[in-house]
Amino acid sequence: MSGHDHGDDGVSRRKVLECMTWAGTGVLWTITGGVPRSLGIIDSAQAATATAPGMTFLQISDSHVGFDKPANPNALGTLEEAVNKINAMPAKPSFMIHTGDITHLSKAAEFDNADRIISQTKLDVHYVPGEHDFLDEEVKFYRERYGRGTKGAGWYSFDAGGVHFIGLVNVVDLKAGGLGNLGAEQLAWLEDDLRGKSKSTPIVLFAHIPLWTVYPEWGWGTEDGGRALERVKGFGSVTVLNGHIHQVMQKVEGNVTFHTARSTAFPQPAPGAAPSPGPMKVEDARLRGMLGVASINFKQNEQRLAIIDTPLQG
């Protein structure tokens, strides 16, 4: 698929989907002036050189440490493989974000094991929680470890490399029959956080459950996600990074790029492709091609962003 280039005529939904089918082996995306172009298929060696220079950060998601069911009896082991892959990257990323479901059942030992492995990257990690990280009786283990300096259930923002990063929490206070939820307090904070920011500041929003509606029948969306997106509408470059659905999906709407990362633990089916969104058992030989991490690069002066999804294998 090398040389597969969408040209300057923009990207139709069909073409984006067409590229998504190739994302399993790594597609380099660049965003120029809000228009994404696929630069074609790349292997991981090329990906590494393609990401320099500029600021590169990594997204890791859904490590589900403690998961031991047939879909992957050793989720800690595949997390370790992902970390080894990160450590082998020729250019060291600036930092990492983790988009939630660090653990499977919020046990203290699961958090400890996750941290023991992830800390081997020697990178700063900015976390947001998934619903699996708030399951302990007192809902304290996540907060004790990662909640320092955050607001509400754990939302916060920071600046790096000229980009404004906003970590949101959409996994608490969920309403019967509904989807993910941000809530009025967090939306008010978001508005406040963005006040006075130059519209040319690139924005990265990250949260566990997709902020866009992927498949409401399986709860893959955020009830008031649209209200968060309204608040970033005027910005020239907006990137929304999510997890939760354990597969790569990408959508572009105007100046906003939506992207979901693979899990390091187990794959989930494509929307509607199975009776439920539960863990998908695949042949052992295929598993590592469906797990992985994402690498995101900003070339500051060009306002250009590239997302590379790298599977553990393949």
Binding site: E131, L174, G177, G278
Partner: protein, 107 residues
């Protein structure tokens, strides 16, 4: 009237205690969670019935009825039971996957 000896009296008392309990158990109801769905999604029961939910998914779930009952997180094959002592409609959902909803109607 036959006089109960001490041994027979003991048996009679035991039967009196056990019988209602056995009857109540026969009325108890089960709800299974399979593929992120409560089955059956709606259940009609008599007052005093105990309903037991069993999570048969590889993913944890909860059973929450606002202001009425709330289970701990149920991992695979974990169970949660609740005895309904008031009539009415009890809507409930999984607080982790809120698209999962169910209803218990107590008559």
């Amino acid at each position: 009237m036959k006089t109960l000896n001490r041994r027979d009296f003991g048996v009679a008392v035991a039967a009196a205690i056990l019988l209602p309990a056995t009857t109540a158990r026969a009325d108890d109801m089960e709800v299974h969670i399979d593929n992120f769905v409560f089955q059956p999604a709606e259940l009609k029961i008599k007052l005093g019935t105990t309903v037991t939910w069993t999570n048969r998914d590889d993913i944890p779930h909860t059973i929450v009825s606002a202001g009425k009952f709330r289970s701990k997180t149920l991992d695979t094959d974990d169970k949660f039971s609740f005895t309904f002592t008031n009539a009415g409609d009890y809507k409930y959902f999984c607080s982790l996957h809120p698209h999962m909803t169910g209803m218990i109607k107590v008559e």
